[in-house]
């Protein structure tokens, strides 16, 4: 099975680093390409143009305006910091969870899968408000601990970076677990057995055989979670403190209320550009089509 997969992935044409031969089946991708160009690429171009031409002849003044505001730049860096924390948190929870799914019976794995997906099907807002109910000073957790006499003053759980990371991890966890699981369940158990035969302890076999083989899934999950996390702000706004600000909030404010679409689009372009830079950097470390191809397409 593994060899078949590998053979397949070697013969399939791919956009990056694949063979130049054009497969005639690729015509099937045409609707998707048209769709992406129409609803993603063209608007993105229009947005970029607007950021340098609103007000007319703006040039880079909108970008200048952004970088002269120290407070806005800080929000931008904070956005990446929070996205990074959320990614690490999802990985720490998601990797063992995905591993558990691969070693239990099919039925239990199914239940675990549902456990990951169930909250995924309810609205982001509802889940964020639910966290508020749990975390706030008069919330469920503090009430129980106070009633049990464990604490005498409410713990500060909400309006902290911890609260933000909890809420975001909950929402983003499926994007970490699913790619990792998809890769893990295709890792041939014979490899670990072979390692054991050659004298490796279970821990060594896991660390030197299983973990490296699961890395494409880990990278896929991390990239997905990180990129998605960059666009958040509702969760940080509702669960975070004064400093847990994200750039989307500033963008919405400019687009929605201020109607300064030049400045708003400039911030949007900055966010997209920096995200692309991250993806590019990641692509130097690992072949992206491996990451996304093996991570998502298969399950």
């Amino acid at each position: 099975m593994t060899t078949a997969d590998e053979a397949r992935s070697r013969t399939w044409p791919s956009l990056v680093g694949g063979r130049p031969r054009v497969n005639r089946w690729s015509v099937l991708a045409l609707p998707a390409v048209v769709f992406l160009v129409a609803v993603f690429l063209i608007p993105l171009l229009a947005m970029t143009l607007r950021s340098v031409n609103d007000p007319p002849g703006a040039g880079l003044s909108n970008y200048q305006q952004f970088f002269t505001q120290g407070a806005y730049v800080r929000v931008l860096t904070n956005t990446f910091w929070i996205a990074l924390l959320a990614t690490v948190s999802c990985l720490v929870i998601g990797y063992p969870f995905a591993y558990l799914m691969t070693i239990v019976s099919g039925r239990v794995a199914g239940l675990l899968l549902i456990a990951v997906l169930l909250p995924f099907w309810s609205s982001l807002l509802v889940r964020t408000f639910a966290w508020q109910v749990l975390l706030r000073d008069t919330g469920v957790i503090n009430r129980i601990l106070l009633d049990l006499g464990v604490i005498s003053e409410p713990l500060t759980l909400i309006r902290t970076t911890l609260g933000v990371i909890l809420g975001m991890s909950h929402i983003l966890l499926p994007f970490m677990v699913l790619p990792i699981y998809a890769v893990m369940r295709r890792i041939d158990p014979e490899f670990s057995r072979a390692a054991a035969n050659l004298g490796a302890s279970p821990a060594t076999a896991f660390l030197r055989i299983f973990v490296p083989l699961s890395l494409p899934g880990v990278l896929a999950g991390c990239l997905l979670v990180f990129v998605l996390a960059l666009g958040f702000y509702i969760t940080p706004a509702l669960l975070g403190g004064l400093k847990d600000q994200m750039i989307s909030q500033l963008i919405v404010q400019q687009i929605q209320q201020r109607l300064d679409w030049g400045f708003g689009t400039a911030m949007g372009v900055l966010l997209v550009a920096i995200t692309l830079a991250f993806l590019f950097a990641a692509s130097r470390a690992v072949r992206l089509q491996d990451v996304f191809g093996s991570g998502i397409g298969e399950d």
Partner: protein
Amino acid sequence: MRSRTIFAFLATTAIVVGCSSGGGGGTSAAPSSEAPASQPAASESAAASESASAATSAACNPPKQDGVTLSFTSFGGVYQEAQRKAWLEPYTALTGVKFTEDENSSNATIKSQVESGQVTWDVVDVGNDFGLDVHKDLLEPLDYTLIPKDEMNADLGITDYRVPDITYGVVLAYNTDKTAGKVPAGWADYFDTTKIPGKRGAWDYSEGGMFEFALMADGVAPKDLYPLDLARATKKLNTIKDDIVFWQSGAESQELIGSGEVAMTMIWNGRGWSAKNIDKKPVEIQWNQQIVTADYLVVPKGSPNKDAAMKFIAYASCAANNAGPSQYIPYGPTNTKSTANPAMVADLSVTNADQNSAYFNDAYLGEHFDEIDAAWQAWKGS
């Protein structure tokens, strides 16, 4: 995955819009005989030449207009329902004009409709950050030969492009369980956590009123608030920084003060009213040093039913009808000659307005947004 990003964005947008005005179920003020006499502003609009009385009678008695359909967009919920019952339904009965409604008023939607030439909204209820002179490319000048401008509360920032339709107040609310019998007298007490301990709620928006409240707490008279002394306000805000709990939506503010998670909060008076009267929580409003503000009616530039829209706005503005929503919610009239629901008068912002009340300087706030918001973000991040 892209769609989730977009969803997060939309959800976000919805909250921001919800916060910006009507979402609050905020309250409005009734015109008070003690209210400062409205000085009819020297009219720049070419149209405002007819006498006020002629305007009033035409406004309250619109002609039959069978076959006309107007679109009306506001902020939804009980707020829009009150507007519907007070203005839309009687207007249909009187004139035959039918309405289609949207509940997602948004400045950005107006801008995109106008820019794309696909204007489908005729009458839109917007917050106090819109309808200013800087938005002249997006809006039709209102017909003040029909709309009784002279009767409107002149403190509410009337422009050629917007007329206020309901008033509400940004006020101090306190949870009586948490203040232990003490009554905060104004914003100085909000900033004094020694005198009355407890967390303080605040809207997480740079132009929502916190800079103004900090300055008032520091002794600045309401009439001297603008131009805002941001350094002084920031210094005052720093004194309670660790005690501030931000809220993002009217619903959240109502919950924070109702549950007692905060001892005091800045709040839209309608939300304070709901915490007390709907949720039955120990919540009271301190009207002293409130900021009186309004929602406004505007007509997007290129509206296909511009003339009919003007007639309807005149109807909703006229003395006989303007206070109608106060039958249902604590939002008061903007027409100084309109009489609010007696049962609601004590809970309206305008009725409680006095010399200590402040008014947003919307033109100033619009012009200096970038500077004010940068100061806000810097304060939060410091």
